[in-house]
């Protein structure tokens, strides 16, 4: 089980690195964010009591009374308690509340879209790779166009086509604002309806990468000796394709999930913005535009933790499906 221990250890290190990065970025940047922040806060009618100022100084590194190390320790303490401070753009809400409201939207949207595109990509890649040398090979270069299209531009085009012109889908938002938030059928179907277009954008843009990777691995796998054994054994084609070729060819795609997930998450941040989707991507942008540094940092951390978590899950899954990871030599 050392594989699992190693993986968990790695993600702890990565988490620590992200936290540390988050701590040092505002301290290394030019300008005085605290003053900008305070000015913003006063505009919003917030009271600038010394305690609030102190908290921001701690977060952004303008506090000179404490040593860097002391600041670092208190910062870690705050983060571990889930305390990211007060949001300026959504004053007087706390950052954790703001994130709490928008995170589920993103997780469901990006999670579903990624799963769909991953499954679709592997499936299509399996078929295209299995029939290598047929006309399907000419489909492969076409998928690169999809991968090369910027997410947000595809979102714009889809919106122009399917919303503005054809009126199939709503242009903006995550649900019908006339509805009450809640777990009822009406609300959920509205959310699905609103989420289709952003999800479609993510799926279209990312499916090509999965397809191509899977197809190339299928082609490599097909010339392996165990494929010859499988054919000599008189197994049915479908069984050979699934249990022998695809089973092995999918492994690198799963191992490379981390790389691809980063791209998808990056893309979805911008996509959310195009559709004014009520997720963390849109929130992040609002935070940047309003100099809401606390919210910015909070969202960055939450996105990072979510990505790390997803990768950890995938890595653990990989450990289960590839027996070779279980015995280290």
């Amino acid at each position: 089980m050392t594989y699992f221990a190693r993986k968990i250890g790695f993600y702890l290190v990565a988490l620590w690195a992200a936290l540390t990065l988050n701590f040092f970025i505002p301290r290394m940047m030019p300008g005085n964010p605290v003053d900008t922040l305070m000015a913003k806060l006063q505009q919003r009618g917030g009271t600038v009591d010394p305690a609030a100022r102190k908290a921001y100084e701690l977060l952004l590194g303008a506090d000179r009374s404490e040593s860097l190390f002391q600041q670092y320790v208190s910062y870690l303490g705050n983060v571990l308690r889930g305390d990211f401070g007060v949001s300026v753009s959504a004053y007087p809400a706390r950052v954790s509340e703001v994130i709490g409201q928008s995170l589920p939207w993103t997780i469901v949207l990006v999670g579903m879209a990624t799963l769909i595109s991953f499954a679709l990509g592997l499936l299509l890649g399996t078929v295209v790779g299995w029939r290598r040398g047929s006309w399907l090979d000419s489909v492969v270069p076409a998928t690169t166009v999809l991968a090369a299209v910027p997410y947000f531009w595809l979102a714009l085009v889809l919106a122009a086509l399917l919303s503005s012109t054809l009126h199939w889908f709503p242009l903006l938002g995550g649900y019908d604002v006339a509805l009450q938030l809640g777990w009822n059928r009406e609300f959920i179907s509205s959310a699905v309806y609103h989420g289709t277009l952003p999800a479609l954008t993510i799926v279209i843009s990312s499916v090509g990468g999965w397809l191509l990777g899977m197809r190339n691995m299928m082609v490599s796998t097909i010339s392996e000796d165990y494929m010859l054994t499988a054919r000599a054994k008189g197994l049915r084609n479908r069984r050979i394709m699934v249990r022998y070729a695809a089973r092995n060819a999918a492994l690198p795609s799963i191992a490379g999930f981390a790389t691809s997930l980063g791209f998808v998450v990056s893309g979805s941040v911008v996509t959310e913005q195009v559709f004014s989707y009520p997720g963390v991507g849109t929130r992040l942008l609002q935070a940047v535009q309003n100099n809401d540094y606390a919210l910015m940092q909070g969202i960055f951390l939450v996105i990072t933790v979510a990505v790390l978590g997803a990768n950890l899950l995938v890595d653990l899954l990989y450990g289960v499906i590839d027996p070779r990871t279980r015995t280290s030599h």
């Binding site: 040398g133 000599a232 054994k233 049915r236 092995n248 070779r324």
Partner: protein, 307 residues
Amino acid sequence: MTNDIAPAAARPAAGNTPPEAVLTVRDLNVVYRTDPPVHAVKDVSLTLNRGEILGLAGESGCGKSTLAYAVNRLHEWPAEVTSGSVTFHDRDGGDLDLLALRDEELRRFRWAKLSMVFQGAMSALNPVISVRAQLEDVLTTHRPGMSRQERRERCAEVLRLVGVEPRRMHSFPHELSGGMRQRVMIAMALLLDPQVMIMDEPTTALDVLVQRGILREILRLRDRLGFAVVFITHDLPLLLELSDRIAVMLRGEIVEYDTAETIHRRPRHPYTRTLLDSFPSLTGDRGAFLRTGAAARSDAPGEEDAR
């Protein structure tokens, strides 16, 4: 040579009963449709008798593997059988024209009548599914009527036959040693009680001692179960000791085809002699390969092609 353990019928050279063919290859031609085309197998005719071990000797690229794969139609594009016939004579009577079988018939034929053992058992076994799953695969496909319990028992039985503990079936290939993997491969080949087994360099990658153990196993199983073996290797001395008859291949053609005894004592084709001379005898005299004196000048290249 004499062999008092093998049943007489299984050893054509030993018994009085006329040998009965199990596989006949007639004028087989295989061409690689590359540019320029390569004629990999040229007008090859062979007869494999029931229960015999036929050695196929030759260097890399001589077409011996191509020939073996074409028999079972395992060759893939750009290899193509251009002419000739391969006929399988079933134990229960009835001949099968292997080159004319439709895809589904061919699939049913494979492994049930003719199974194979490949060189790199490391790569010939699927690395991510267990040995048991790979053994049972064969049974679920070819014997759909078998119950789970029966399948499990049959797998354990063949593993015991090749001297592998049945509990090893839960292992994955990378957890087994090279010799063990090759034994598993042979066990797998035995599952459906085939009449012919084609072995493509089954012991080449193994250490001498492990190789010896496996060869002994193959002979023992052949004597007991009576299948015929096509044994492919570049190691002629090994074939001389192991097989009943030997075909020597050079550039796609069979240049000599005779009993092991004759090839050992009276090789006719110069290439056969070259091959024989290439293997110094362990205990015999230093022959053409003397490293001192005049013969040592024989180091000039006059060699083979790149592999």
